[in-house]
Amino acid sequence: MTTSNSLVYLIALPLLGATILLLAGRRADKWGHILGTLMSGSSFAVGLYQLSQMLGRSNTARPVEQKLFEWISVGSFKVDAGLLLDQLSICFVLLITGVGTLIHIYSISYMSHDHDRRRFFAYLNLFIAAMLLLVLGNSYLNLYVGWEGVGLASYLLIGFWNQKPAYATASKKAFVMNRVGDMGLSFAIMIAFATVGTVSFAGIKEHAHHTSTAALTAMGIMLLVAATGKSAQFPLQAWLGDAMAGPTPVSALIHAATMVTAGVYLITRSNFIFDAAPTAQLLVVIVGAITLLFGALIGTAKDDIKKALAASTMSQIGYMILGAGLGPVGYAFAIMHLLTHGFFKAGMFLGAGSVMHGMNDEVNMRKYGALRKFMPITFVTFGLGYLAILGVPPFAGFYSKDMIIETAFNAGGIKGILLGSVTLLGAGITAFYMTRVMILTFTGKARWDEEAHPHESPLLMWLPMAILAIGSVSSGYLLSRGDALVNWLSPLFEHHGEHEELLAPIVVSALALGMVAIGVAIAFLKYSRQEVASVAPENVSVFTKIAREDLMQDRFNEAVFMRPGQQLTQVLVKTDEAVIDGAVRGVGKLAMGSSSLLRGVQSGFVRSYAALIFVGAALLIAAIWVVVQ
């Protein structure tokens, strides 16, 4: 395989930025944001250079490797720290560094009034470095380091304003729920090591054919658990809404465009495991299907603009997970949706940030309205993202989402019809809640308070939004023209026979557009034709109440995990006090007892110490006597 010495710079540059900014402290306050942006930007430049190199090679010789150092070598356990850049990881590298750099630029202005802007940029750079390590590691263990790194960066950034207890709690919640998923990843690594004997992607791929299906299924399920944690999928989805406590650029970068898609990366990267473990693959599809509806339903009832977008993210990642669970035909479409989603969702989050910026950090959409006139650029860029997520042709989402719906229908049999219907229904609900967001925010009557003075955001904020909007418009067409992305990724996946087509593509598109039209129409009737109350009405149906409560996800977690967990802890604490502490105290008492017995020996008198040495030597002689006899 081709080797390259420059892969490490992708990670090293932002990591260096983070280190300098954290170590320099307040001294870097004046230029910290510029350095952070430059580091992210130069990493993007390295990524572009790598892409150009890659394009120059033939289809099968594109992956590049860089061995960094021998990481662990104890006995038979050897792991090298190495990087792997192939057709899949380059997509992520460019998304992470490209969107990342735009969000750095946006943050310069967005965070300009914050005393700790430098620290914010340090964390952003740290995140970029960790996320790049995640997608560039050539083994599950290297990936794991990045996986934990993004978890840390996400924790630090969600709790960036941790002076507010609620925000600190939100970051802790995200961290703890992610830990549950991380356990899955570590179990998967352990199973891989125990059964295959290696943890590198290449090694496991090579041995996957003669590894037992049971082991592969176990690995697959554990990887899925990991993916649900990081990507906020059912049943570990509850943290994402609270994660919106972080500054909005963070929500755009980490909790929409990049980190939360790590689960999709993990499953796609592990294609050789899932292809050989149909049960695990089926579970992936089920998780994706549940989540895409789950998120969409939550999205219909949220009045907080960021939480509505977060629910939408959850739902869209559900589409990707579902796509990835459909096997070789679905991987490429999952990645395509991931890339287009990276553009339009990041763009919409930045738009939401721009609205908040102009509205004194108000997040309740019921207090917005008629902002179209005051924020024309935000309105246009947000609107282009809106058209993209709806899947209106020729915007980006049309290409990627339609392909997933189509693949779902073609999965065959009842499964195909069920999955296809779920994805269609999801598209309709998406259209409803996104239209609701648009109407509540930008049109209708102004419902804001006296103090609000909505205004357009400065250049540094709207420029990234505009660039992302261009992506929302064009990325779908560019990636699917001549099956560009599918062909690009095809050497990585094993191909099976073509699936029969249940429905012709044109029919699927028509169905999807029909659902979208229905969703838009309902939202229009409900929110544009009627007066919108600036306080959320109380006398709503039980379904709305449940949706407002995030479909009871927190109550469920509290009832099923937290309270039994607390009881278990209490039992454990009691056991610990009675049994373990008892034993330890017993040992301690024994030690105390023996030390008081030995106090005669440790008396401080040299003569008794010398006697002890003498007795010891005599015992040695006695022992030798026994040996000789």
Binding site: F69, E70, W71, I72, S73, V74, G75, V584, V587, G588, L590, A591, M592, S594, S595, L598, V601, Q602, G604, V606, S608, Y609, A610, L612, I613, V615, G616, A617, L619, L620, I621, A623, I624, V627, V628
Partner: protein, 505 residues
């Protein structure tokens, strides 16, 4: 009668010669330099000498010779690794010694006398501790490279005598310090007698004082096995005394507590490397073929040592005594490397010695920082809430303790893991089981200190943490970085050791 001039390979001996030369310069400085310039000159001379010696060790790292000094000194891979470890540990210990706050102004004066007070008031601080350190380091370098019994004994005394003196130099609680020095001296002399007695028996067995001669006799057989066994046993008493194995450990808690803390750090870390180095060499070369005779003895001593050290440490209320018992337990863990008697065991021991030495100096460096108006505070109850008062210092100490406990991502874990797996491979199951169990017991008291520092509310009793001087900071930071780096990226150093770790015979 003809005399032939001794043939010496000065290049290979140069690290030791440099140190002795530096020590002599130190003596002259002490005698003639004005009191204002003395401390800084001594420090520079000592550090310069140590660095020069380290450079010299690095230069000869690929050379091998059994006849560096007419067959009395052998230089090979393990020798280089041990010497380099000793010098590095000494350098960071000297940075602690540089804080004269710990040392009596005039060691020759009676405690509490006018003379002492006068010396203190006029700032006439004597600094003989530096040349003493260099003499001790020179002895420590010679100890693991000796290849006959006479040289081994000379090296043993050469490293011990300065240490006896250094233990008595404390500024606070001088009587306790002097008492511990005298105890150390008397017991050291007593164990040296055993050592010599053992050497005599070995000569009686093999008619040779060189390690290779003894080895040939063991391989050839035919000698009187009783002589061999008694020889090994008594020689071991001397060596086991130096490493502080039970039941020859009794001096160490008293001396660790009484000696000035920088000296304790130096003694605990560097002496252990030197003594285990010598022990590994003689057991791996001379006694290797008589394994049947000494394995049961060392196994029992190792098990008793680690269990005893771990158990008794629990009951300690003084941080220095706790570290002393912890060091006894670690001597037990290190003995498993001697028992393993294979290449993996040697590699693991060399890694363990270096890692443990560095961590030990770091831990004692932290002890020097926690003080009240009357000097260091070693009562563990007064360390309560240290994490709230000085989070950095407490975090560093917690790092060292976690390494002692063998928690993953610290050097202590890699050391324990490799030394136990080497012993397990060689079939020494019982000692590995005892090792793992006593590690678990030991983890209890290390973690108890962490709980004490971080999860207990501070008591307002005047205990404060000194702002570390830049020299002490260097020691702490260096030790912490090494402790963590060896835990996270052990591969390069393990490979380096693996390439060098073969005793030549």
């Amino acid at each position: 009668m003809e005399f032939s001039a001794p043939v010496l390979n000065y290049t290979l001996l140069s690290p030791m010669l440099i140190l002795l030369g530096g020590a002599l310069i130190g003596v002259l400085v002490e005698a003639f330099m004005s009191k204002a310039l003395r401390p800084i000159t001594q420090l520079s001379v000592t550090l310069g000498t140590l660095v020069l010696a380290l450079v010299q060790v690095w230069k000869v790292r690929n050379e091998q010779s059994v006849s560096a000094a007419m067959g009395s000194v052998v230089i090979d891979g393990p020798a280089v690794l041990l010497q380099a470890s000793i010098i590095i540990i000494s350098i960071i210990s000297v940075l602690l010694i540089a804080d004269t706050e710990h040392f009596t102004a005039l060691a020759a004066s009676l405690p509490g006398s006018d003379e002492e007070r006068h010396a203190l008031q006029t700032g006439n601080q004597v600094t003989e501790v530096y040349p003493l350190t260099l003499f001790a380091v020179a002895g420590m370098l010679l100890f693991p490279v000796s290849s006959d019994l006479i040289t081994l004994f000379v090296a043993l005394e050469m490293l011990s005598l300065p240490l006896y003196l250094m233990a008595g130099l404390s500024r606070r609680r001088r009587l306790a310090s002097q008492e511990s020095a005298l105890k150390y001296f008397l017991l050291g002399a007593f164990s040296s007698a055993f050592f010599l007695f053992g050497a005599a028996f070995l000569y009686g067995y093999s008619a040779s004082i060189t390690f290779s001669g003894i080895r040939d006799a063991v391989v050839g057989g035919g000698g009187n096995d009783v002589f061999l066994l008694i020889g090994i046993a008594f020689l071991s008493v001397g060596l086991l005394f130096k490493v502080g194995a039970v039941p020859f450990h009794a001096w160490s808690p008293d001396v660790y507590q009484g000696a000035p803390t920088p000296v304790t750090a130096f003694m605990a870390a560097a002496t252990k490397v030197a003594a285990f180095g010598a022990m590994l060499r003689i057991y791996y070369t001379s006694f290797a073929n008589a394994q049947w005779s000494w394995t049961p003895m060392l196994t029992i001593i190792a098990i008793i040592t680690m269990v005893f050290g771990s158990l008794v440490a629990i009951a300690q209320r003084d941080v220095k005594r706790m570290l002393a018992y912890s060091s006894i337990a670690h001597a037990g863990f290190l003995l498993t490397g001697v028992i393993a008697l294979n290449k993996a065991g040697l590699e693991a021991s060399l890694f363990y010695l270096f890692a443990y030495g560095i961590t030990t100096v770091g831990a004692f460096a932290i002890v020097t920082l926690v003080r009240d108006s009357a000097g260091e505070v070693t009562d563990l109850n007064r360390w309560k809430g240290l994490g709230k008062r000085s989070p950095w210092v407490a975090t560093a100490f917690a790092g060292f303790l976690l390494s002692f406990a063998g928690i993953p991502l610290t050097s202590g874990f890699i050391g324990k893991f490799s030394i136990f797996s080497a012993a397990y491979e060689s079939g020494a199951r019982s000692v590995v089981i005892a090792g793992v169990l006593s590690s678990a017991i030991a983890a209890f008291f290390y973690i108890r200190v962490i709980v004490l520092m971080f999860f207990t509310d501070p008591v307002e009793d005047g205990t404060s943490v000194e702002i570390p001087s830049s020299l002490t900071s260097i020691t702490v930071i260096f030790s912490l970085i090494v402790t963590i780096a060896l835990g996270v990226f052990p591969a390069p150093i393990l490979n380096f050791i693996s390439n060098l770790a073969t005793f030549i015979r």
